[in-house]
């Protein structure tokens, strides 16, 4: 049987090579048709695994919050503390910043230096707005005597929402670093890989925020 017929038979039974069952493929390194995957693919996949483990960590914080949500110890509950208008603005900031991060990715793929920087600045400013609103909410709550030491509910709240806030802060620092690297090093492959990881990180933070505003805020203030 010639190589062409073998390929035809295999592509009929397994057209997408899910099983990587091709004879030629099994002879090459890395079991892929063209050898090992490119560095960009490996880096992206590795970072994707990290993001999933980060999401698992958030799941533990969510579980703690859900268990302790009713443990208010006679203190203020979600309905007295949360302001949904503020949460709506925070959500809009984070969603728009995720979108502008996507626009920066597109501009970077097209190697538009200034456009990339502009969208990254927009991303950073919207992220900073989100962080500012969150910090204002925290300081108001602590000022009203509803700090993390008040009850089990408030400990879990500050741990969960604060953990997300810490992630956003780290993301902003990373964003500034990426802007500096793009400015001074240009579109080098390793800089582009870091930018890819940053955009994945930023989008993942928005996914966690969706769970946060649904579970903590909307379900919390529900009558």
């Amino acid at each position: 049987m010639s190589a062409a017929t073998t390929a035809a038979v295999h592509s009929g039974s397994d057209p997408y090579k899910i099983g990587h069952s091709d004879e030629q493929a099994s002879q090459s390194t890395g079991h892929g048709e063209g050898g090992p995957a490119s560095k960009r693919v490996v880096v992206g996949f590795g970072f994707w695994i990290f993001l999933l483990s980060d999401i698992v960590m958030f799941a533990a914080f969510f579980a703690a919050y859900a268990v302790l949500a009713s443990a208010t110890a006679g203190g203020p509950g979600p309905r007295q503390l949360f302001d949904l208008r503020n949460v709506q603005i925070e959500t809009a900031c984070l969603l728009l910043s995720s979108f502008s991060c996507g626009l920066a990715t597109i501009a970077a793929e097209r190697r538009h230096r200034v456009t990339t920087q502009v969208w990254l600045i927009v991303t950073g400013l919207l992220g900073a707005c989100f962080l500012g609103l969150e910090l204002r909410e925290f300081s108001t709550m602590i000022g009203e005597g509803a700090g993390p030491q008040r009850s089990g509910f408030l400990s879990a709240f500050f741990a969960l929402v604060g953990c997300h806030g810490v992630h956003v802060t780290a993301g902003l620092l990373w964003l500034g670093t990426m802007m500096a690297q793009l400015w001074f090093k240009g579109f080098k492959p390793h800089v582009l890989r870091r930018l890819l990881c940053f955009s994945l990180f930023w989008h993942a933070l928005d996914i966690i925020w969706v769970a946060l505003f649904t579970v903590v805020y909307i379900l919390g203030v529900r009558p």
């Binding site: 035809a8 996949f45 110890a73 626009l103």
Partner: protein, 124 residues
């Protein structure tokens, strides 16, 4: 031999890989996500959706919006070149479900078995 390899073979792709859909995909994702967010906040007071059904509806909207983010922003799709990424995602979802479901299940039973003054509602 390599010249005869079928063209159907796709290379593996990383999450967030080349934005094949361009700006249109991001715009569609933004629109869908904004719509779902608006719906979540709109039904919160229980006037539009039957009161007891609100949590289920909110959960559905949240899961849908996470799906929108995954597909349009992170570019995780069901395409054959994404097998590895989707498998990792499915494993992550399994662990998240175990952690969340297991904690809530065990702790609610523990709470039920407690004498009244040690229950968590109003305690701690």
């Amino acid at each position: 031999m390599t010249s005869e390899t079928p063209a159907t073979l796709e290379e593996d792709t990383a999450p967030g890989g080349e934005a094949s859909s361009g700006i249109g995909g991001y715009l569609l994702g933004l629109g869908l996500a904004a719509g779902l967010t608006w719906l979540s906040f709109a039904i919160a007071d229980g006037n539009i959706v039957w009161g007891p059904g609100v949590p289920a509806a909110l959960l559905a909207f949240a899961v849908a919006q996470m799906g929108v983010h995954l597909v349009f922003f992170l570019h995780i799709t069901t395409g054959p070149e994404h097998t590895n990424n989707v498998l990792a995602l499915v494993f992550g979802i399994l662990i998240v479900a175990l952690v969340l479901g297991g904690s809530l299940w065990i702790m609610s039973h523990l709470n039920l078995m407690m004498p009244d003054q040690m229950r968590m509602d109003g305690g701690f």
